[in-house]
Symmetry: D2
Subunit: 365 residues, 4 copies
């Protein structure tokens, strides 16, 4: 057991999630490396100090360079807005410090490319937490095992409704491609598509703003978007992403059809995976609702009882375990910056297709 | 109460369904016109006679012209394969006899166009039964009432799995566009999209054969297909159709998002409609699972108890009621041949888009 | 194919359901006997005539003796209130005419006993329609096949909410044990318990009126009731019955645990049966949602497509098929008057236990 | 922010859960008191040391007295088997140290009574974690607010299947009342019943062993049990508890009917609460599936996004927050030892009723 000093940039939604995860991960997974909450950084001295006290960090700063350069900070988690990711990551890699970066990797494909280049030979990891639930990890296993045969179709969505109300005022979130639905929500489901099915060869897409004006301003980024695609392995697919999907709170959902069966999942009931196998007599076939438990990946560390359930915060703890393992072994643990870049490429292709109203090759981006 | 002599062409899946419906509809809906099962027609004398006896028709024939021309046959239901629809309908209209035609209207867009032209001024109706359930009729009402506001997104699917098993032999169903998934299954959901949202302005599509060879032959039509579209009212949508969707038995399902709420429906649980309204405190918002009952369209005639449920056969009885009403009043009852043609146009556009790999204007077809 | 003249006493909720069923059953099931709607009886000449015209009967009467005695009426369906069942059934049996009687068999256990005695050697059948759905018939098969092993526990409920609103006025339904929840709703689920698990040896129960006064009068029968029981085969069980269960529209639901698996069913989604089998690796176990289809009992006659669904009215058509078969063969078809009496015994035991606040032997009633 | 030294007795299932919770709670809830993992105790020096290292405690011991007496241990969590609870709690209270005790409070009602007596004036808390989910806390609020009116019926169950397989060998869990289903599982749901509805006045019960022999021994405690009860407020209820309920993994579920609506909940989908309100037009009534979110009790601290979900471990973190708050303020935080005793009384009454096969007054126990 060795201690390691953790620095987190950002103390908001995700900064807190990672702080909690780092506090808990050792006890949950009996990790070799044991995190010490060394320093937190936020935009202002006051907020940084508030986060320090709340989350239990030793020190606080309002300058991420201070954090990155501090010798007691041995690994860095970037949980600040997308425009900040590139500079911070590059500075950390320059000092050969391991970096975990929240999704999306960069604010643009250029950022993502630069970050991935800099990550070469370094410990790096991308924050795609939803693919890390026991259910979705198990879905990946089932596909890899051939349980549902060759995949013939994929449907994915990431839908929420925090901007469904047209009366909700404009904020910084309603400006900038990186903060729109394609920039902010789509990366999770695109990552899932790539992880579950494989690379996307080509796609055709629509991207649009549903409510162009809101109290307080004009909306300059996208509210929702959709695509159809062809995966490199030949499988056909469709996806939808929205922040205006009334009723959907965590609509990270997919349906996968194969030649021997099918899988369905909806993150709103994250502890259940639905599996159909074309086996046995017709009379007893149907989708089986499998509740996650110790028989599924990464579940047992949280609870010995099946069906007792893991939650959002547990996903971040799983990421923390892997980041620590990556640091310990020096070997990257999936998903890496490269995976973040793969997603960014699909996002870039999506915007291009929507603009040209035509099919595009993803490899061109 | 007046009797009317009914002739049905076809005694298979749908021929039987319509025969049962005509036997039951009077008692269910207390119709003014009371059907008399006058004549049934099938491919061979033997099968025709078998159907006659089984369903309770007075007479049988293996020649649809005999049926159409028989003076005691006062109204005609076409429940034979798609290639036969055009000729039969035209012959019936030539005698000014009312025609109900199963979906798809014709075997091709040309057929559909010719049939719709011939239907002008005649009593005509198209067999889109799924849109006639109490739940889907209620969905239409909710949208028309503005309950979920302006529609911003639509997703539809019609998925089944009767050809999901690659070992299932080739049949006549695996040849001919009219018998593939776009010809056979998609019309139901396209009709739903048009009925729920409105005309489709443009679309981009993929159409493909999943299992190109099967025991006994080559498959020359499509197993599954998908599209993205723009409705004339500006709403964005996506659809998927499949006969190889393992686990889906009656996957006629849609999700509709509006500015004030959302609707979800899946025909596999046809007696439930899910409604989300963005009203009241956040803490009590969610999708409400509404069980159909006497408060919903066309339910009360079947049962006085809510949640007691209607089934597939009841949809055909509802169609029968409307066909009789159309005959009685001489006024067309929705959906008409024109609606069948509207669907055919979208189907034609889908094939064209898939071939050209580009967006197409539906109005061009 | 032989015609048989049917007389139905009652033209309300169930009178209509049976009239429709008799009109449709021949075409649906290709029955040997073909029903002719000969005569309908209701309380007044005007209502009887109205039903005659609406349902398509040849004649009407307001005197059930006329109906029973009419030579053209060859089989009788009793769909009038419970207090009338006994007299009508006895009169019909006296003429050796087949009788189908709606649940509950009699208005009291004495009635039921007298009716069952009179039914000896006669064609007789009881109206427990819910146990006749494809799903519940399949549940019975699964249990008989040993698919879920020895049964260790049963939970049943029949819950609706038509009297949940305290502001709903008192009617004839709120007086008389035969019209309360135990008399009116419980028989369905008690019948299911007996059919699925077997005879009940002993029970302890609570019976009560939730809203003792309503606009327009005092309520003198029960709103809800519950029991715990021991089945003769040793299995333990519990049941609940209510007409004040807000939100439940057709809450005929059961859960059955066995040593090798479990079954769950809820009539509100009548086309799905949930089956758990303790087989295979833990990781893929779960309840399988089986959609009914042609592979399940009595489904195929209604529709060739699985998941397309049957509804309430179809249950009555299945009953009609069996009643006709019983008439044709002279052999009773389950469930018979004896089954109605078995249920009545449990109902009587329930009232007695509730009053004495003690366990009672069902065989004593 | 003040540190507090925590000692945990037991390092198994719950010992770990509490260790993780104490590591995470400060960052999650920004607690005033900040736990320091001071000492862990287990049966053997080796296991204790293993837990120490894994969970991050400063010290380990195999003697709980050492832990209790250690001055750096300022608060004690009892997560060892039920027979040990009493002695440990009493020793801790003797030193005026705050005690959190896992359910069931004692191994017998005598133990529970002695412990509750000793807890007078001390900081004490009982480990009923399931009632602490955002969904179940919200259910309590809804009932308290009168949203569903006066409660007329309650059904509860706690069902799992870890002993459903008759081939599973006998262990210490299959001996001793405290380790059977009534002792081990039922307390959670009884606690829920008391918390949601109020005290139980009287009950009648059945308790039994389903598989009396197992490989390796005879089973001397109960596999499943059920009761009917009358709550002090007049409400009628029924409950079921089982460790042999095939297919149920975390079947902590309840249904509550009131005069204005109803609530349904199943812990297997712990982030959803189903609410029916008898309001508005019939046509739009139904159960609303509410996904928990920041608008619900104790959710926001875990995640800002609704529907993102909490899990089992989060319940223990909520308990930790409350235990710390109780220590800080010196005021008991619900649920206390008294609540554990209230449950124990119902358990004792259940056994007595099952033995005497009669209704019993809970207050007599
Ligand atoms: N994986 C997931 O589920 C989620 C990921 N995210 C991602 O996490 C990142 C952070 O998002 P949120 O936590 O939602 O944002 P937030 O607005 O809640 O918090 C952002 C934090 O960054 C700090 N910050 C801003 N600019 C900074 C700068 N120049 N230097 C140092 N600190 C700065 C702010 O003071 C604040 O503490 C984003 O990249 C976002 O896309 C966000 C939500 C969920
Ligand atoms: N609305 C719905 O849910 C469904 C609609 N359909 C439609 O119903 C129509 C019939 O399909 P199915 O009943 O499934 O077919 P089927 O193969 O079960 O029955 C076809 C019937 O048509 C008869 N037939 C064939 N050629 C004929 C001819 N030249 N003259 C007279 N009779 C002829 C056959 O003898 C047979 O009785 C098709 O247009 C199909 O697309 C089919 C199934 C479901
Ligand atoms: N199996 C099921 O799902 C259901 C069964 N039932 C049962 O069906 C029977 C009838 O109930 P509903 O149809 O709901 O009642 P209803 O009130 O709708 O109809 C009763 C009919 O009986 C007639 N009637 C009453 N007294 C009569 C008399 N002395 N002679 C001749 N006709 C008389 C009335 O005129 C009326 O047409 C009852 O035994 C009831 O328990 C009712 C509803 C559902
Ligand atoms: N709230 C909940 O959801 C749950 C509560 N529990 C309760 O938690 C308690 C512990 O149960 P589990 O963690 O499942 O048991 P376990 O068998 O997993 O762990 C018991 C621990 O207690 C230690 N222990 C045993 N005897 C001891 C002694 N005399 N002195 C010191 N340490 C001793 C053992 O070494 C072991 O570390 C029980 O009271 C149980 O009823 C258990 C599971 C779930």
């Amino acid at each position: 057991m060795t201690e390691i000093g953790i620095g987190i940039v950002g103390g908001g939604y995700m900064g807190k999630a990672h702080a909690v995860a780092m506090a808990a991960v050792g006890a949950v997974f009996d990790t070799k490396l044991r995190p010490r909450l060394e320093m937190v950084c936020a935009s202002t001295p006051a907020s940084a100090e508030r986060y320090r006290a709340a989350f239990g960090f030793a020190r606080a700063t309002d300058d991420w360079r201070v954090l990155v350069n501090d010798p007691a900070v041995q690994a860095i988690i970037i949980a600040s807005p997308q425009e900040t990711h590139r500079e911070i990551a590059l500075a950390a890699f320059a000092l050969s410090k391991p970096v975990f970066c929240e999704k999306p990797l960069g604010a643009s494909i250029d950022d993502s490319r630069a970050m991935t280049a800099a990550a070469a030979g370094q410990v790096n990891m991308s924050g795609f937490n939803y693919i890390r639930t026991p259910a979705s990890q198990f879905a990946r296993q089932l596909i890899a095992d051939g349980t549902i045969g060759d995949i013939t179709w994929f449907r994915g969505e990431h839908t929420e409704d925090f901007f469904a109300d047209p009366a909700r005022p404009a904020t910084w979130r309603t400006t900038g491609d990186a903060n729109g639905t394609m920039g902010d929500l789509a990366p999770h489901m695109i990552n899932a598509a790539l992880a579950l099915i494989g690379p996307i060869a080509s796609l055709v897409a629509m991207v649009e703003t549903v409510h162009a004006t809101r109290p307080g301003g004009t909306v300059t980024n996208d509210d929702h978007a959709q695509m159809m695609c062809r995966f490199a392995n030949g499988c056909m697919g469709q996806m939808y992403f929205s922040r205006t999907a009334h009723g959907r709170k965590m609509g990270y959902a997919y349906e996968i059809t194969g030649t021997k069966g099918a899988i369905r999942f909806d993150q709103e009931d994250q502890n259940a995976l639905w599996l159909y196998r074309a086996e046995g007599p017709e009379a007893t076939r149907g989708f089986t609702k499998i509740l996650t438990g110790p028989a599924h990946p990464d579940y047992a560390a949280f609870c010995q009882g099946p069906g007792h359930g893991t939650g959002y915060q547990d996903q971040i703890i799983i990421e923390a375990r892997d980041f620590l393992r990556a640091i310990e072994t020096g070997a990257p643990v999936w998903p890496t910056f490269q995976d973040g870049l793969d997603v960014a490429q699909v996002v870039a292709a999506t915007f291009a297709s929507a603009q040209t109203k035509s099919w595009v090759d993803v490899s061109k981006f």
